[in-house]
C-alpha cells in the first residue's frame, strides 16, 4: 500500500506543472473565457506533442498507454492551471467509449487521430431534462433505409461547437427498462441538420445546446450494438466523474494555496490576518477538505483502473465528497480574500466560478450520495 505518487506519476506531475505555468498563464485562461472557441489551438497542439491526448490510449493506437491514475494526476494539474478547452471532452468522453466498445476498425481509425490531437470530440448525452440517467436519453433515432435519422435536442454538451466528431446517445427503442434502447452514434459534427448554440455559463466554459433536425447517420456508424449503448455510457460516466474530481482537487489546492499566501501577507490591525484564529481554523478545515478530496479521488481512480469490486461505490463517494469539499474550500477562499476576491481583476474568482461548474458535472453531491446509499445496500 502506498498512497503517494510513483516515480512516473511524480515526473508527469512536475512536468505538467512547469509546462502549464509557462503555456497556460492566467491571461490565457481569461482570454479563453471571451473566446468563441474557448481553447487555444496553439496550446492544444503543444499538449498533443507531449502525448497528453493519447495518455490513456494504448500504444498500438498511437497513445502512451498510461492509465486512470496518471490521468488523475494530469487533470489535477489542469485544475490547478484552469486549462481551458476540450481536453476532457476529447480524451475522456471521446476516446474512452471507443476504447471500451469500438470495433477494431473504429479504434484503428479514431484513436490515433485523437492521440495526435487532430480530432476533437465530445459525448452528447444530456438533454433538457438535465438527467444523468438512462431515461434522460430521449433524442430520437429512427431507422430509415440504410440510415438512422436523428431528431431532438441535447443540452449541456461540453465543447460540442469545436468538435470534429461527436458520440451521440440516442433512443432507438423504448421499453420498460430505460437502459435498454439507447444507441451510441458516431456523428460528423458538421453534418447537415446539426446546429450549435454556446451557452453562457457561470464558469464561461463552453457547453452547448445541440439541435438535431433530420440528421442522417449511416446505420453502421454505431458504437457497440444498437439498443445496447447504455452500459458503455455508464463506464464513460465513471471515468468522467473521476476526471471531474481530479480537476476539482487541483482547483481546490490552488485556491487554497493562493488564499493561504494571502492570509500570511494581508495586514489588518497591524498584523497578518493569518495570525487570527478565525482565519487559521478556516484554513485548517480547508486543508482537510483538499487532502481528503485528493485521496478519495485517487482511491476512486485506482479502484476503477484495477476493476476493484467496490469501484462504483468509490467513484460515487469521491464525487459526493469532492463536490461539497471543494465548494467549502473556494467559499473560504472568497471569504478570506474579502472584497478583493469579489473583483473580476483578481484571480481567485476564476476558481470560485469553475468549482461550481465541476461540482455539477457528472452528478453533484446529492446525486452521488443517493448512489452511495444504494451501493451500501441501505
Amino acid at each position: 500500500m502506498d498512497l503517494g505518487l510513483d516515480e512516473q506519476q511524480e515526473l508527469l506531475k512536475n512536468f505538467a506543472r512547469d509546462f502549464l505555468e509557462k503555456e497556460c498563464p492566467e491571461s490565457l485562461v481569461r482570454e479563453m473565457e471571451e473566446d468563441e472557441k474557448g481553447y487555444s489551438p496553439d496550446l492544444w497542439k503543444k499538449m498533443a506533442d507531449q502525448g497528453w491526448m493519447g495518455l490513456i490510449i494504448p500504444e498500438e493506437y498511437g497513445g502512451t498507454g498510461m492509465n486512470l491514475c496518471e490521468l488523475a494526476v494530469l487533470l489535477e494539474e489542469f485544475g490547478r492551471a484552469l486549462v481551458p478547452g476540450p481536453y476532457i471532452s476529447t480524451v475522456v468522453l471521446g476516446a474512452t467509449p471507443i476504447m471500451e466498445a469500438g470495433s477494431d476498425e473504429q479504434k484503428q481509425y479514431m484513436l490515433p487521430k485523437i492521440a495526435s490531437g487532430e480530432t476533437i470530440m465530445t459525448l452528447a448525452l444530456t438533454e433538457p431534462s438535465a438527467k444523468w440517467d438512462a431515461d434522460g436519453v430521449q433524442l430520437e433515432a429512427k431507422k430509415s433505409g440504410s440510415d438512422y435519422v436523428l431528431n431532438g435536442v441535447k443540452l449541456f454538451v461540453p465543447d460540442a461547437h469545436v468538435t470534429d466528431r461527436m458520440i451521440v446517445a440516442a433512443r432507438t427503442s423504448s421499453g420498460k427498462n430505460p437502459e435498454d434502447g439507447v444507441t451510441l452514434f458516431f456523428v460528423d459534427s458538421k453534418a447537415d441538420g446539426i446546429s450549435y448554440e454556446v451557452l453562457k455559463t457561470i464558469a464561461a466554459d463552453k457547453q452547448c445546446e445541440v439541435t438535431f433536425k433530420d440528421v442522417k447517420i449511416p446505420a453502421d456508424w454505431v458504437l457497440g450494438e444498437v439498443d445496447k449503448g447504455w452500459p458503455i455510457v455508464e463506464k464513460v460516466k465513471k471515468v468522467a466523474t473521476v476526471a471531474a474530481c481530479a480537476y476539482l482537487v487541483g482547483l481546490a489546492q490552488m485556491d487554497f494555496d493562493v488564499t493561504l499566501n494571502y492570509a500570511k501577507e494581508r495586514v489588518q490591525f497591524g498584523r497578518p490576518i493569518g495570525s487570527f484564529q478565525a482565519i487559521q481554523h478556516k484554513l485548517a478545515d480547508a486543508v482537510i477538505d483538499v487532502d481528503g478530496s485528493r485521496f478519495i479521488t485517487y482511491k476512486a481512480a485506482w479502484s476503477l483502473q484495477e476493476g476493484e469490486p467496490d469501484a462504483d461505490l468509490m467513484v460515487s463517494m469521491a464525487k459526493a465528497w469532492t463536490s461539497d469539499a471543494s465548494r467549502r474550500v473556494v467559499a473560504h477562499g472568497q471569504q478570506i480574500h474579502g472584497g478583493i476576491g469579489f473583483t473580476k481583476e483578481y484571480k481567485i474568482q476564476l476558481y470560485f466560478r469553475r468549482q461550481k461548474w465541476m461540482e455539477l458535472m457528472w452528478g453533484d453531491a446529492d446525486y452521488h450520495r443517493e448512489l452511495v446509499a444504494q451501493k451500501l445496500e441501505v
Binding site: D2, K264, S275, I288, D366, R369, V378
Partner: protein, 394 residues
C-alpha cells in the same frame, strides 16, 4: 498510487483476525460492558492483555529487544485496525505502550528500561498518565505541580486531573515543575511514580455517563527517589512530545466509526417505523451516505499517514488531520445514529427497547468527551495552521 496490501500483509491480517476469533469472547468486546473502570472490568482488560502478551502482541510495534516484534508501519496499521474492529479491550496497556515505553526507550536509563519495559509487554503493570491539571488543560505547559530536590529524593506537591485509571494503575508518568523561574516549557521534568507511594490520594471524577474512569490525583509531600527522574531535569516537556517512529494514524478512530456505521446500516435496514423501513426514508439514506463518506475519508487520511511513514517520511500536520477528522467523525456518527433512532435513541441499556444495546446513546455521550480529551479540535486546528501551514502566531 497503490491501495492494495501485499500477500504477506493480508496473511498477517488473517492471522490477527483468526486469533481474535479464538481469543476474544463476545462479552469482552468493548461495547458489551460498561466504560466503568471497576475491578471486574480491569480483570477483563488484564486477562486479555496477558493473552496478547503470549503472542508478544502487547506492543508488537516495539523493537524485538524491548519485547516487541518490530512490525512494519503497515503491519502496525493492520494490527490496530483489527483490534479496533473487533472492539478488543486493549485498555490495560494503552498508556504503557503508547507513552511510557516510547519515552523510556529513548531517554530511560538501563535500569529503568529493565524495570519497566518487560513489565509492560508482559502485561504485569498498568500505567496512568499524570499530565493535566485543573489550571493546565489545553495550556498544559502552565502546569503547577512542583517537584523539589531534597537529597536523593524529589518531593512532589500538587494536583492532577482527568487521570484515567489512576484508581487501578500501578505506576504513573508524571510531569511536574522543577524550575519555577524558567520559561514555562523549560522548567518541567518527567517522573516515574509508584502509585503506592505515601501521600498520593486518588479521588473519582464521575463522568456524565455516570462512569468512574477519570480521577483527580493529589500529591502531598510525595517522596520519590531521584532514580525515577526520566532523562534530564527540566527537559520533561520535550520528552513528553516523543512519539518515535510508530504508526500514529488514528486508525482506531477510523475503524470505530466504521463499526458504528455497519451497525447503523443494519439497524436502518431492519427497523420499521409507520409501516416503512427506516432505510426507505430519504433523510435516513442521506445521513447514512454521509456517514459512509466520513468513514472512508477517515480511513484514507489515516492510511496516508502510515503510507508516509512507510516511505520513511515524518508526518507533520498530516497526523493531526487524521486525529482531528476521526475524532469529529465518530462524534458525527454518534449524532447521526441518535437522529435516525428518534425517540428510541435516548434509551439507556439495558432497556429492552434500547436499540443496538444502547450503543449509540452511550457513544453520543462518550464521543462528546473524546472530542475534548488529548487536544481539543480547536487546539488541533491551531497546530495544523501554525505547524503545518506555517501561519503566523496569534
Amino acid at each position: 498510487m497503490d491501495f492494495r496490501l501485499s500477500p504477506e500483509e493480508e496473511a498477517f491480517r488473517q492471522e490477527v483476525r483468526d486469533w481474535l476469533g479464538d481469543n476474544l469472547p463476545k462479552d469482552w468486546q468493548q461495547d458489551r460492558f460498561s466504560r466503568e473502570q471497576s475491578p471486574e472490568t480491569l480483570n477483563i482488560y488484564r486477562t486479555f492483555a496477558r493473552k496478547l502478551a503470549e503472542k508478544k502482541w502487547v506492543a508488537p510495534q516495539w523493537p524485538v529487544e524491548y519485547g516487541g516484534l518490530g512490525l512494519s508501519v503497515i503491519q502496525q496499521l493492520i494490527f490496530n485496525e483489527e483490534m479496533a474492529h473487533a472492539q478488543a479491550p486493549v485498555g490495560y496497556s494503552i498508556i504503557g505502550v503508547g507513552w511510557v515505553g516510547p519515552t523510556l526507550i529513548v531517554y530511560g536509563t538501563e535500569e529503568q528500561k529493565q524495570q519497566h519495559l518487560s513489565a509492560i509487554t508482559n502485561a504485569e503493570m498498568m500505567w496512568c498518565q499524570g499530565f493535566s491539571e485543573p489550571g493546565a488543560g489545553s495550556d498544559l505547559a502552565s502546569l503547577q505541580t512542583k517537584a523539589v530536590r531534597d537529597g536523593d529524593d524529589y518531593v512532589i506537591n500538587g494536583q492532577k486531573i482527568w487521570t484515567s485509571g489512576a484508581h487501578l494503575a500501578d505506576w504513573c508518568i508524571l510531569i511536574a515543575r522543577t524550575d519555577p523561574e524558567a520559561p514555562k516549557h523549560k522548567g518541567i521534568s518527567y517522573f516515574l511514580v509508584d502509585m503506592k507511594t505515601p501521600g498520593i490520594t486518588v479521588r473519582p471524577l464521575i463522568d456524565m455517563m455516570n462512569n468512574h474512569g477519570f480521577n483527580e490525583m493529589f500529591f502531598e509531600d510525595v517522596r520519590i527517589p531521584r532514580k525515577n527522574l526520566l532523562g534530564e531535569e527540566n527537559r520533561g516537556w520535550y520528552m513528553a512530545a516523543t512519539t518515535l517512529d510508530f504508526e500514529r494514524s488514528s486508525i482506531g478512530g477510523a475503524v470505530g466509526g466504521r463499526r458504528m456505521l455497519e451497525e447503523l446500516v443494519t439497524y436502518a435496514r431492519e427497523t420499521k417505523r409507520n409501516g416503512k423501513y427506516l432505510s426507505e426514508e430519504t433523510t435516513v439514506r442521506n445521513r447514512l451516505a454521509d456517514a459512509a463518506l466520513d468513514v472512508e475519508l477517515g480511513r484514507l487520511l489515516s492510511y496516508r499517514v502510515a503510507s508516509m511513514q512507510q516511505r520513511g517520511m515524518v508526518p507533520n500536520y498530516e497526523s493531526s488531520i487524521a486525529k482531528l477528522f476521526n475524532t469529529d467523525m465518530q462524534l458525527r456518527m454518534a449524532r447521526a445514529g441518535m437522529e435516525i433512532m428518534g425517540l428510541y435513541g435516548q434509551l439507556e441499556p439495558p432497556s429492552k427497547h434500547s436499540p443496538l444495546r444502547g450503543k449509540f446513546e452511550r457513544q453520543y455521550l462518550w464521543q462528546t468527551g473524546m472530542s475534548v480529551g488529548g487536544g481539543t479540535p480547536e487546539i488541533q486546528k491551531n497546530i495544523i495552521a501554525m505547524r503545518g501551514l506555517g501561519m503566523p502566531r496569534p
